[in-house]
Every structure is written in C-alpha cells, then in structure tokens.
Amino acid sequence: MPTVKKAPSRFPNEICEIEVQRDISKCISCGTCAKVCPFGVHERKTGYNRVSKPLSYLCIGTSCEDKTFYCVNRCPRNALSLVISSEYRTIGDYRWTRALIIGTWKQAETGIPLKGQRYEIGNSGGGFDRIAFNFPDDEGRGEMGGEDMAHTLHLTPHTSGDISTEIDLNKREGKKISIKVPFYGGGMSFGSISLSVMLAKAKAARAWGTFTCTGEGGYPEALKEYDDNVITQVATGLFGVMEDTIQRVKIVEFKYAQGAKPGLGGHLLGDKVTPEVARMREAVQGSSLFSPFPFHSVYSVEDHKKHLDWIKELNPGAIVSVKVSTPTDVDMVAVGSYYAGANIIHLDGSYGGTGAAPDIAKKNIAMPIEYAIPKVHEFLKQEGLRDTMTIIASGGIRTAHDALKAIALGADGVVIGTVELVALGCVRCGNCESGRGCPRGIATTDPELSKAIDLEWGAQRLINQYAAWRSEIVDVLKRFGMRSIKELVGRYDCLIENHEITQD
C-alpha cells in the first residue's frame, strides 16, 4: 500500500472552522498559551517579545475545553476566545458543505478519514444525503420488513482477515483488469486542468493500483510512463485521439455524454487553447473548441458497435467503457452498450462534473445518479446481463460514504472528480472558466497560475485522500461483516432512508 505522508495546505492561512482570537489590548504576551498548547496554535518565536498570531487551523476547537491545556482557560488575562471563523461561514454550498470541503482537505493532508455525519453527507436534502447505512448492530431500522430484518441479522460481525476493496472492471471475455480500490479518477482534459494536476492524478492512480482518465484533450507525452494506469477517452470531438494513444492503454472510454452537460457537448474557451493545448488537440491556438453532440457517426446500437469494434481492432487487449449521461432510458442504453461490446457502463449523473457547464444543464438535464444506478442495475439483472457488465457510477460522489451507497444501490465502483480537485485545494468557487481560469491554479493552463500545484505535493494529497477513503470503506464493510466490497453490490438492505438529517 502506498505511503501516507503529511501534505499540509500550500497556503499560509488554512481555512478552518474555529478561529482563535487574541485580544491584543488584553494580551500581556506572557507566553502561557504557547507553552500549554500541544498543537502549536500559539507560538512565541525565539527573539520575539510578542506571541505570534494564532494558527487557528491547528486548533482542535472546543473539544479541548475540558483539558488542562485549554488556552482560553489558561490565559491569565482572558485575552483568548474561540469563534466560528467568518471564512467557515462563507465557504460551501448545499452539496458540498463547509464541513465536506474542509474535511476533504484534512483527509488529503493526513490520509485519515474523519468521522461524523457532517463529513459523510452534504445538505442537499435528497439522494445520498437522505440515505444512511443500516448497520446490523444499529438501533432503529424500523422501516424494514421482517424478511429484510432476517436477512440483515444473518450477517455476522467480521473480526479477522483482510478486507478486499478490489473490483473487476471486465466481467466479459478477454483480459481481466481489476483495481485495488473501488474508484478511479474521472476524465479531465489537458486544457481544462494543468499538466501537473493530470500527472498528480496519474501518480496517485499508479500508487493505488487504479486508473485515471485523460478526458478529451489528448494524451500528453509526460503521461506515457503511467500508461498502465491511464484510461484514454474517445469523445465526440475526437480531440487528441490517435492510433498510438488507443494502443497504449488498457482501457478506452467512449464518452457519449457527460452528466454535467448532457446532450450539450464540450466547450473549451479560446483563452484556454494555449499553444500546447492546441498542439495536443491538433487545433488552432486561441480558437474555441467545441466537442459536438452527439457522436455524428452514431445513431444506433449498430453504429455504436462499429465504434467499439474499431477500438478493439486497434487494441485487442483493451477493454471498453461507455460513458453516458442519465436519461430516462439509461437502462436501455446500458443494454445497448452491452450488445455493442462494452465492458463497462459508466453512468454519469447530473449533479457532478468538474469543468464549466451551463447552470441550466447541471441543475435540470437528466436524472441524479442515485436513481440511475438502481434503474440500470435492476434492468441488467432482468436481462440476465448484470454479471457480465460492470457498472461504474459518477456525478456527485463526494465522500467514501457516497461511494459505498452507490455500490449498495447497484454499482460495482465509482468515478471521482470534484473530490480530487478539492483535495488539491479547490474551494468550489465555480469560476473555472472566467478570465485566466482557476484562481487556485488547478483547472487552468495559465502559465503563471498553474505553477501553484507542485506535482509531488499534488500526488501525495491524492494518495492521502484515496487512503482515507479506502480506510473508511474498509471500516463500513467491517461493520456489515463483509470481506469484500463485491458483497455490497446491490445490497439495498444495507441502506435506510434518513428523513431527519439536518446540518448546520
């Protein structure tokens, strides 16, 4: 397993929940606080008379209250106080609450999962945010019928042995490909994100024995050493698709649509088409690039099969994933993809997405992933195809808990995107497209801004975040008495509706 190493925020001031305030008019700089605080919030640098400004993000908050080292109580002048920071109040939204954003940062820093509901679900009031786990030893599964209850009870707590989080990506004939964790990195194109972010993703994927995806924007040379962990995308614009790139990889992803902008195609603004991006995409610098919609050569399952055959002809060893959005007939699309020869059906729900998309599309077009997963799972079962198709879900998977719920709803694994960007310091301001691009240097190819992300640091943050997720997944499986993540697939009885969720 890859090594988890501390990868602190790259900012001098990390945003945190609790702000430690020192009233300068009262403080006598006695240094008591610096002496008592075991977390390094207060510091008196040698040679300085005054105590430095408190490093609030190191503070563990009010859970310190009853300890002897609680600075607020120990200060002889009552100059210290803890308040909810103004930044904490401002950051976040319904789907990605402040706790989820900051929690993800912490996990990326330490590799340790955070416990508690606020780090597990958002505040959107539906979907994953209203689903909880129905752990066998938990009270209150009042909503379950007798038979389900019995089903749950025959599970015995798991005590020993390793718990596997490995899943198979190919259940059909041909090369077996499995990944060590039930998630892989979503497609983000070179151009929409910087090269170092792309490489950091690839590096983390290799470390964890999983995959990352190029998105639709070509295959930078620097990714070559990660060939075995890269999925290359063939999307409607065919940008950067070459025989060579198809032949290099183990998985090729056909992108029919993406959840954030179903039926709309991609759009890279001219400003982001730098000379390098243009070269990679075989396009002209500075001119906006549209990925059309739909595939102009696919209007039937037969056309679809022709496409897949083309890939399999070029690279007989590759398995093919078909990425689709979630319309009402997504179940039919999944079956059609099976008959066209796909190994993976990748469902991309409407609430996710990383790059810029019209707000109207994100909010309205196609259904949230929570509905699409059981729909496809059930239909493939009915058609007798569930054991030959791998279902991968994405579009709004924010936490390890979301991933586990998606699997219990019927997916084999998930694809993550936004959470990786958050791990790298994204605040979800949503301004990926305006001006010079991402002000945080993540989703940009601006030469100055993209310097912000160091490859090694980025890779470590992602390795840590994956580690935290895996650890949480193992934990949940343990509570269900399961030995493998594969046992959780489609286990509706492990889920329960939670109507009483309220968040701060």
Binding site: L264, Y299, S350, C429, P439
Partner: protein
C-alpha cells in the same frame, strides 16, 4: 426554409455598482505588502492610486469567492463573508441567486456557466421537483464548425383547426381562425410595479426587436412613444403591432373600431359575462385575436373548458408573482407547475387542447421555467419581474412603500433598458435551445405537454426507492 431567428446580444454594463456576493474586509494590521493584489485575478485588490504605499479598499463586487487572498495574506488580516446586501436580495422565491443570474444575463447576454458541479438543493417545490430528459444519440446535432442544426422556437397564438375541409373544386371551405406567430415562447406581461413610461418604452423596443409581444394595461394609456394625449386612444407608432392591450372590467368598456383594428390581439379580464364582450369585439373585427386572462385557482380547469367550448382562442392563465394560485380556497396552495399540467391534461382528455392557446405566467423566473411550463402544457409563457431585473431592479419593494428606488428605474434610458432586456431574452432562449437540443427536439411546439420528456421527482422517487427501501410490504410479491 424560413429565415433563421437569432438574437444579437451586446454587452451592456449596469449603471450602478453591482451588489457583490461577498464582502472582504482588510484588517488594521495590514502591512501593505501587496500579496493580495498579486494573487487576486479579479482585481479586487489594488494599491491606492494617490498613494501607492497603501492598499486601496477592496473592490468587493468583483470578488468571486476564491479565498486566495484570504489564504495567502502573510498577516492573515483579510476577512471574507457573505455579502450582507446580497443575502437580503429578493425573497424566498426570487432568491438572490435568481436575481443575480438575471442581472448577469441582462448585462452579458450569455448563459450562466460555472464549474465544479451543481451546488443547489437536491430538489424543491414546483419547478424544482422535475428534471428534463436527454437523449444520448439523437439529432439535432451541434458542432463548432456548422453551429447547430436549427431549432425553432416559434409558437402560434390562436386556434388551430384539427383539419381543413375542401370543396369539390379544391377550395378551402373551413373558416381559418386568425393566428399570430411569435418567434419565441416568451411574451412580456404587465408589470407589478415600475410602470414608468421609460420602462414601457424599453419593453416596447425590446418586444419590437425580438418580434414578440407586450401586454399593457389599457388604462395606463401607454400606446407607444410620443403618445401624450391621455385617455385618447390613437394609433401607436412603430411599436404598435407588438402591443397587446389588456382591458380590465371589459363589460364596462366601450370599444372603438379604429382602435380594435389597430390591435392584432386584445386581452380581456375574465368576468362572468366576458363572452358578450368577446362577441362585440369580434363583430368589430373578426381578425382580432382575443385572449381571456383567467387566474389560476379554484376550478380553473372548468373555467378554461367552458371558455374553450364557447370559442375563446387564447387563455392567459396567471398565478401570483411566486407561481401560486391567485384565488383558491384549499389550504395548500397549488403551484404553477402542477396547475398548468392539470388544465392541459383536462383539455387533452376533452380532445379540445388545440382549440385554445394557453399562455402561462406568474413566477417564471429563469429560462428553465419556460421549458418546464411548456412541458407541463403551456404553449408559451409571459414574464414580468425578470424584465425589471434586466433594468437592475433589486426587488427591494421600496417603491411599493413610496420610498426611493435604489436603481432609479424612473430614469432608465429606454434604449439601454431595451438592450438589457434583449440580452436577457437572448440568454434565456439559448438555454431553451440547450434543453431542446439535449432532448433531441427541433422545435419548441413539440415540447408542449411532453411529460414523457421530463423526470418527475415524485414518480422517480417512488419507482426507484420504493423497492430499494422496501417501503411497502407487498402481499403478493413474495408468493
């Protein structure tokens, strides 16, 4: 092939300093190092022009909430918080986000785009309890070279015949009722406030440019630029054909033949004896289309049925500003989304749906509402408040209490205002095209009542999660 309809948008900046989403405060221990000015890519932070040694006050309305300056400040002396004025905008229906996006569209003419996924609640009431569908592989296609296959947003106002009859010589014997084509399913409704001549001027110019219509209360005497003589209805100028006069208490109104002849369409307030007035107007000019304005509320479907059977060609169903029923006795107020569906379904069941055009208004706040109202069964929508937002209105309701308008609506330059409205509608139409394109529809008329192209929260929750959560113990399923 008909001429392609398009709306030219021109960036039109606001007159007043915009209300920022965030507030940034610079603390007293700032050392004027200028780090914030380097990291901010939106030019919130700058040095003082008169004294470069000091930092200027942050230009907060430009802040996009990236937190970079906050996190990079070596003294940790910058504070960010949600904008106080911003959070207070509008109300629970007309949220700050809705008002702000409408401002943005009126300024830029662009559709709102953002990254990092959706950030709102999972679902909500009314229009927020449905999603629109898409199709993975159907036309109309779009690409960067050829643009997109043309999607028509034309709708017809008036009665449509189910079939046309011919005599033995091949001559049409059916009486063809008058219809009007509107190039987009949006007309302008009467305004709840801000009824100033220059605002009307802007609306009229925008309606004329867009080739759509505006409904104007006939009492207000506004019949176009240059028309000063109050009470005397005379032919308006170039905007004339884009006006729909709205007549309240039509039974007490006396109609003038010249005036009627100048109108393509007239809207009458619904009254018990409205049919008598309709006959009177039709006698004066059979070519005038008459719309009856009916409030959503108790027995609205019955009223619509009765009017349709009586030969009314157009019915304008209106809800209150928040899309709720106007007069109804039941406790829980119905919402425009469901009420539209109910009326539409009722007319379909009676097989008289095409006998009447349904205009729906009240609470149409965003482009998606236009599409969703049409899916529910409206032919077209009428909008009100968003037009005022185009003029920077903050919906502070000061004017309703006779207080000063913070954006001085009264002094709006009509041409500036018209362009802002054109930009707004241009952006809305483009969003409508996105929705139609994703579904594979090539004309908006086919969207009407297409509930099969929508996903309703109630249904999908039930269909999916009843099974997942074993909600109902079925007695025969296990047998």
């Amino acid at each position: 092939m008909p001429k392609k309809y398009s709306i030219d948008t021109i960036p039109t900046p606001p007159r007043h300093t915009p209300i920022g989403k965030f507030e940034i405060e610079r603390g007293a221990d700032c050392i004027n190092c200028g780090r914030c000015a380097i990291v901010c890519i939106y030019e919130v932070h700058k040095r003082q022009e008169e004294d470069l040694r000091s930092m200027a006050e942050p230009v907060v309305y430009r802040c996009k909430g990236c937190f970079s300056c906050i996190q990079e400040c070596p003294r940790a002396t910058l504070t960010i918080r949600d904008g106080t004025d911003y959070s207070r905008l509008g109300d629970s229906y007309w949220t700050p986000e809705i008002i702000n996006t409408n401002w943005y569209q009126a300024e830029t003419g662009k559709i709102p785009v953002s990254g990092a996924g959706y950030r709102g609640p999972f679902s909500g009431e009314g229009f927020d309890s449905m999603w629109t569908d898409m199709s993975e592989i159907v036309r109309p296609t779009r690409d960067g070279i050829h643009g997109r296959e043309y999607i028509s947003t034309v709708v017809e106002i008036g009665r449509k015949l189910p079939a046309i009859k011919f005599d033995s010589h091949g001559e049409i014997v059916s009486h063809i009722p008058p219809t009007i084509n509107v190039p987009l399913p949006i007309i302008f409704d009467t305004l709840p406030f801000g009824r100033f001549e220059n605002v009307y001027g802007a609306m009229a110019m925008a309606a004329s440019y867009l080739d759509t219509f505006m409904i104007v209360d006939a009492r207000e005497g506004f019949m176009g630029e240059g028309q000063k003589a109050k009470g005397k209805r005379q032919k308006a100028r170039w905007e004339e054909s884009h006006l729909i006069p709205y007549i309240t208490q039509p039974t007490l109104h006396s109609f003038d033949v010249d005036w009627i002849n100048a109108c393509k369409m007239v809207e009458l307030e619904y009254e018990e004896d409205v049919l008598g007035v309709v006959n009177e107007v039709k006698t004066l000019n059979p070519g005038t289309i008459i719309s009856v304005r009916v409030p959503f509320g108790d027995n609205v479907a019955g009223t619509v049925e009765e009017l349709t059977y009586a030969g009314i060609e157009v019915i304008h169903l209106y809800a209150d500003l928040n899309g709720k029923a106007v007069n109804q006795t039941r406790k829980k107020s119905l919402l425009i989304k469901d009420m539209t569906q109910n009326v539409h379904r009722h007319l379909v069941d009676l097989k008289i749906r095409d006998d009447v055009t349904l205009i729906v208004s009240g609470g149409i706040a965003m482009a998606e509402h236009v599409a969703k109202a049409i899916i529910g069964g409206a032919d077209l929508t009428a909008i009100d408040l968003p037009l005022l937002f185009a003029l920077e209105c903050r919906y502070c309701k000061n004017c309703q209490e006779d207080l000063a308008c913070p954006v001085e609506l009264k002094d709006v330059n009509s041409e500036w205002g018209a362009q802002r409205m054109i930009n707004l509608i241009g952006a809305w139409r483009n969003q409508l095209l996105e929705i139609l394109g994703a579904m594979g529809l090539r004309e908006v008329r086919r969207l009407r009542g297409e509930v099969g192209r929508a996903i309703f929260l109630e249904n999908i929750e039930k269909n999916t999660f009843d099974k997942v959560f074993a909600r109902e113990v079925s007695h025969d399923a296990n047998g």
